[in-house]
Amino acid sequence: MDFTDLTVKLASELLAHKKISAKELAQMSLDRIKQVDEKIHAFLYVAEKESAEFAQTADDLIAQGENFSLTGIPYAAKDNILVKGMQATAASKILENYTATYNATVINKLNIEQPILMGKTNLDEFAMGSSTENSAFGVTKNPYDLTRVSGGSSGGSAAAVASGEVLFSLGTDTGGSVRQPAAFCGIVGFKPTYGRASRYGLIALGSSLDQVGVFAKTVEDTSMVFQLLAGQDNYDTTTLPKPVPDYSKVLKEDLKGVRVGIPKEYFIAGIDKEVAIITQAAIKKLQELGADVTEMSLPHASYALAAYYLILPVEISANLSRFDGIRYGLSVAGNNLDEVYYNTRSQGFGPEPKRRIMIGTYASSAGYRDAYYKKAKYAQQLIRKDFTDAFEKYDVIVTPTTPTPAFKIGEKSQDPLSMYLADVFTVGTNIAGVPGMSIPAGQTQAGLPVGIQLMAGHFAEEKLFMVGHALEKTLKLKLKPNI
């Protein structure tokens, strides 16, 4: 058996039938990490010792017949998600020596079933970026082409699943940070509705936009993992006490009567030719499956990126003010308290966090708040209304996930604005608060994966799983990097 061919579902069945042990799975994952991570650099921390303990606990549960679908499954978590006793650097020098003192709620929820955490994965510093090139600890390379980026900000989590190091992983998605790297790495990447899953224990980027996300090789695996993460949490008052459907019951193979909207604003000039062709082919498949496909409009969608790059920096400038060298993290000496603040922040933060703190501070400062921040919040209302109106008529909206396949390392890193444009198709869902998912739709001539994005209405995640699963089954792609 080749570990890199396993899915969560398959591994779970093997464990249940005692064809393999959790300990053996953990060892296979570790061997694979040792074999390929030198090349792709998905991990910032490999939990070699801890994973053996997690595997033992999982094997004990299985021996007692108390195993669940995720028991004993090797996974990874982005290094901005807190796991007690482990590092949580957010890929920043300012948190290089920080050790998490508690578990994020999503980690506690996973621990109920005891999957095996293999380590913490790379990201753009504080999840700010679209390529992991902003990591203070080096870039994560694309498993399909080592000269290209894995996407970002959750590039490490995406590359870890795509290269077969783990069977699923957690990321965070503020403007596309799960869906975009999933598209670049040829796997499934899912972001829930704002308020569907807890943010407690995620290092905050933009608190009104952040959500935890899931990476896996199939839509079914993704839904199995998210089943456990969804739901209200007393430690995050933005989560809502809405019932969570049984996602395994919604997966089916035809889409008769499903209403699919194709927003014309997302098929504009500038989109890569191969991406456009692959997206159109996937849309045709939806029609063949019985879906009712209609072109429609999200008239304010084109303002989403501009609104995002004001709302987000304003929240960043507030959230990152906690890094001051006093209670935890890096502390650089100074002659007085103010100097401690200046020195710590100036040495601890990399260029992108500084840039965004500066924009956010400017856009929310006296005299500029009305011209920038307030206008962006107003645009957000218009965009949100576009989406809520559209989801009265359509079950899902389908777009390309990204305008291009994975770009070259260094291609955009000197031009912040061109990097921001990599998120142009994904930010809308965060601005509107709706769920989104990228699934593989094909490969370019050069072998680079292309993703297609599905969006659904607030708290209608099950529609993404339903449509995504059916599309995946009919596309029958066998994407696997040669690494």
Binding site: Y98, T99, T101, Y102, G195, Q232, N234, T237, L240, P241, H300, Y303, A306, A307, Y309, L310, S317, S321, D324, G325, I326, R327, Y328, G329, L330, S331, G334, N336, L337, D338, V340, Y341, Y342, N343, R345, S346, F349, K354, R355, I357, M358, I359, T361, Y362, S365, Y372, K375, A376, Y378, A379, Q381, L382, K385, P416, L417, Y420, H458
Partner: protein
């Protein structure tokens, strides 16, 4: 909209960040480019103001204030760069 070096200085002070001269010039150009991009939001000005519908999901979630033992203070304090007993130590603020 272009911003001046003086404004870069003003924002840096508000942000508690220090930059050298070449960093300031680079920031001036980058921030100006980003602000020029977001200026497109001006286009929606004057458009029909929508009635902001009350979001049915925007509700206050209340719960009882129950004391729970979560993390021991020592766990947090171990992370502090400088401490004295059970306190985090900072530079004096008052002369």
């Amino acid at each position: 909209m272009a911003i001046s070096i003086d404004e870069v200085d003003r924002i840096a002070k508000l942000s508690k960040l220090t930059f050298n001269e070449s960093e300031k010039q680079k920031l001036q150009a980058e921030l100006s480019a980003i602000l020029a991009y977001v200026d497109q939001l001006k286009e929606i000005e004057g458009k029909t103001v929508i009635d902001l519908v009350e979001d049915p999901d925007s509700i206050n979630l209340m719960r009882d204030d129950v004391v729970e033992v979560t993390t021991e203070p020592e766990e947090f304090l171990k992370q502090a760069p400088s401490r004295q007993g059970n306190f985090v130590k900072v530079k004096s603020i008052l002369e």
